[in-house]
Symmetry: C2
Subunit: 602 residues, 2 copies
Amino acid sequence: MSYSAPIKDMSFLLREICDMAALAQLPGYEEATPDLVETVLEEAGKLSAEVVAPLNHSGDLEGALLENGRVRTAAGFPEAYRQFVEGGWNALPFDPDHGGQGLPWSLAIATHEMLQSANMAFSLCPLLTSGSVHLLQAHGTPAQKALYLPKLISGEWSGTMNLTEPQAGSDVGALRTRAVKDGEAYRIYGQKIFITWGDHDCAENIVHMVLARTEGAPGGTKGISLFLVPKFLPDADGKPGRRNDLRCVSLEHKLGINASPTAVMAYGDDEGATGWLIGEACQGMAAMFTMMNNARLEVGTQGVAIAERAYQQALAYARERRQGRALDAAPTAAADVILRHPDVRRMLATMKALTEAGRAMAYLAAAAMDRAQAAPDAAERAAAERRFALLTPLVKAWCTDAGSQVADLGIQVHGGVGFIEETGAAQHYRDARILRIYEGTNGIQAIDLLSRKLLRDGGAEVKALQAEIAETVAALTKCDLPGLAAAGLPTAAALEAALDAQGAATDWLLAHGPGDPAAAAAGATPYCQLFGTLLGGWLLARSALAAAARLAEEEAPDRPFLEGKIKTAHFFAANLLPHCQALAETVTQGAPSCLALDDATF
Amino acid sequence: MSYSAPIKDMSFLLREICDMAALAQLPGYEEATPDLVETVLEEAGKLSAEVVAPLNHSGDLEGALLENGRVRTAAGFPEAYRQFVEGGWNALPFDPDHGGQGLPWSLAIATHEMLQSANMAFSLCPLLTSGSVHLLQAHGTPAQKALYLPKLISGEWSGTMNLTEPQAGSDVGALRTRAVKDGEAYRIYGQKIFITWGDHDCAENIVHMVLARTEGAPGGTKGISLFLVPKFLPDADGKPGRRNDLRCVSLEHKLGINASPTAVMAYGDDEGATGWLIGEACQGMAAMFTMMNNARLEVGTQGVAIAERAYQQALAYARERRQGRALDAAPTAAADVILRHPDVRRMLATMKALTEAGRAMAYLAAAAMDRAQAAPDAAERAAAERRFALLTPLVKAWCTDAGSQVADLGIQVHGGVGFIEETGAAQHYRDARILRIYEGTNGIQAIDLLSRKLLRDGGAEVKALQAEIAETVAALTKCDLPGLAAAGLPTAAALEAALDAQGAATDWLLAHGPGDPAAAAAGATPYCQLFGTLLGGWLLARSALAAAARLAEEEAPDRPFLEGKIKTAHFFAANLLPHCQALAETVTQGAPSCLALDDATF
């Protein structure tokens, strides 16, 4: 159950899909030289593989415990977290003015993927901290930033997001937590559930970002404000001081990510929890949206990460487990490793293709975020922001669906031992399942894609992306590099057919969405799946083009790796892209038929 | 988390798909009158809902424990098992000469589905006993039958199957357990793993069916014999006597079915376990095959059962959980139940369609088994046997895939609380996962379908089935019953397109399978998925035709139910059948491309 960071593929994608060389030209990213990128990947790979990964299975078995009002994480977690903080890993992509290293998000996301592969439960602590940093950077006062950002950026303090209440899940606007003005501060009263790393023993303080309603504020999302509520109130020196009136009252017993404490948090059981408004009153939802795209990208990356981990484990097993003879073996031959059986090979090829497609998609989105932040030209920044906004629900939903699917195949490759917890394959399957739910269920992502990303601008950004995909089809079709001789044309043909299908579904939604929102909404999920599959096939096709170029240009190319990129693109095109046509039919004809099933039918 | 047996649908399928009226004309099945069928369904429904279902969640939490060499099942299990035995439920489909009730398998399978829905872990005990009964009925000596069958048929004694060893999973021929002749009996030495209900405290004796190799027997599957090895050796009165030399040495910690003890069994640690040969020496594998189709049908039915349970739970939640407003609600309206949201409705429609399609498929296979056993005409029996053999891998693989998919959707419908174990949705997801692995992984089913069921007879039986599906297409196309006005033609068109796709994939496999077995084997799983999806769409279409006829003919038809059958068939046709074309492309072009990914590519 060891883990080895897939640095070769990460490095390839950062160069070929993110264009790291161009990113390193942007103001602020000058340090992201090829050498530094390689060093960062290697060192992050070491920490993940050697320090964090060994705690994954034991953490799952042990879980987090609530004892005497305090949460104790699994053995080794506090020490591993200290090493993570001391190595400066939390600070990688953040503002150097507050102690960050200012490196591109596309590089940071690769290191995050490693940490998530190594131990998804562990990685959630910095993931949530990252959200708090985003909120504070965008909406905090200078004093709030000065007090909290250095601690959060270093990771000495961790952060949490407090949105959900029992009656307010996807419908955040239904929340009831109250905030009562008290001088400069507020008193917070209410209960929040599903608070990831809501309490723990790894950081010296925990900064809770809490959505609550001020007195007299309107109902629904318009009356929600955002508050910063620390576990320990900072003293005059900015050190953790008096205990605030908030506590973890229970931990959930979950299907997976057992080592990640999922807390029920009670605010203000006594005198009221002290909190400070972040940004303007009643602008809490808008503030949340500033960090939501980022958090969704991170969760999508978790899907890639769990897929990578499950793939590595299944591949290792398939290379070693001997069972039955290969179809072309002599009848008296000894048993072969199961990787030689076509059905197993098909499963592993599917796992590899889904993982690499997801990785390319997540990194592409991160690079768009980098350009949206750092490009010198305002129009370029705006274009990158639009692209990032479009990619976000796709990365979140498609990559997490892929994470579950790959973890599922990982069990199947193992056969009977895959169902035994000791093997570890089942943990990935359990852990992966949350990814399609939290940070907005994948159904919510699909609605976001349909309503905010497609319909709102009348399809402009989607059509811009379609044009880029069409360019790749054209490039593949006319490419005469020898590396693409076998795979180029069939990959191009399948990509073109998928693009046509996505175009048909897109046009139908643009035509019918405004007038028949229920019919369009019924097809939102298949549309999101179709779009994500197309993107995956596109990015693998781009990877294949880049790989063919390198095979032709480099003096001593890494043939197995580069030829593998071409074969994987072809495999994806031939096995996964054909479903785009079926999904397009579903969007335009199938899904709306669910509306005919009235309540009495169920 | 309650369960209510779907008697309406079961009854409908037994009548319309199994043609229970015709089955009741067969010799031996005369008692299966409509009244008796209804009574059996209702009483089995009560036992399942009231006695067995309440132990499902507690059994999952508590699990089975190995204490002082004995396995203790979860609280309530022994008592519930006693009620099950005393009610005569185990004996339903078995030979009246040995205490069975001789009712049709198609009726029995409906009662088994209920038990499996109620508590999958519990239902595994009688499922394995059933396998032992099959083996003994087919291969036991008269004395063995007289001694063991009445106890196994009543359920007072339970049975197990002992095939797997650490080095011999799918490749059963690699097993090493030895059998040494000792007078009339044999001494058995060896270790077996994954023995379901290998030890427990519910029955007074346990009859192990053990595959082992006699001295001097050839290697591989040709040297394997089958032995009956009871936990307690029957005394002169046929009562459990001396303890045999076998023991449970450990229980597995599994992803699911925690209340089902999965044992590592040690035979012959001391003087050797006493066992008796069943059938001829070295014919153990052939004997196993006689019960394998039946066991695979039961496992397929478990897929339906877990799907039904997950569907009921998700539907209840969706009818009650309020979150957000429906798209057509006024902006100031209160929150709606989530069943009103199109994306949730689409998920529930998918769950319902998969469940009902799987149920129809499993019951159809059971009816084929009934005809194979009871038809007076030998040619008719042989035809039914061929049909049952073809349907078996499809039911096993497709229905268990559907079980996982429905359980997965069940979690998604619940959102965040679906990930919390207390809710119960996650248990179904965990429990369902084993179904695609045990009793032959679904990859093994797909190879069975390809090699034994398609290629061996040159496609004859598959083509016979295709002709029947074409008849349904024709009937739907020309049907002018008012109930089918909206759904008839689109359902027929989608079914015809799926049939064409299956035909293309079938023809390709028939053409290429003999010459290029690896390419064909790579497509075995997508072919199995394609074929199963087509079958599901076909049986729902047949259900729709029958429902339309009843709507037109009956005086007071059950409109919501019968119209629901028609709408569900249309939903399946419009949403799931389109993937048949994609799967056909995968079989003929996609899957073989995995063979291009050589070992170095992974």
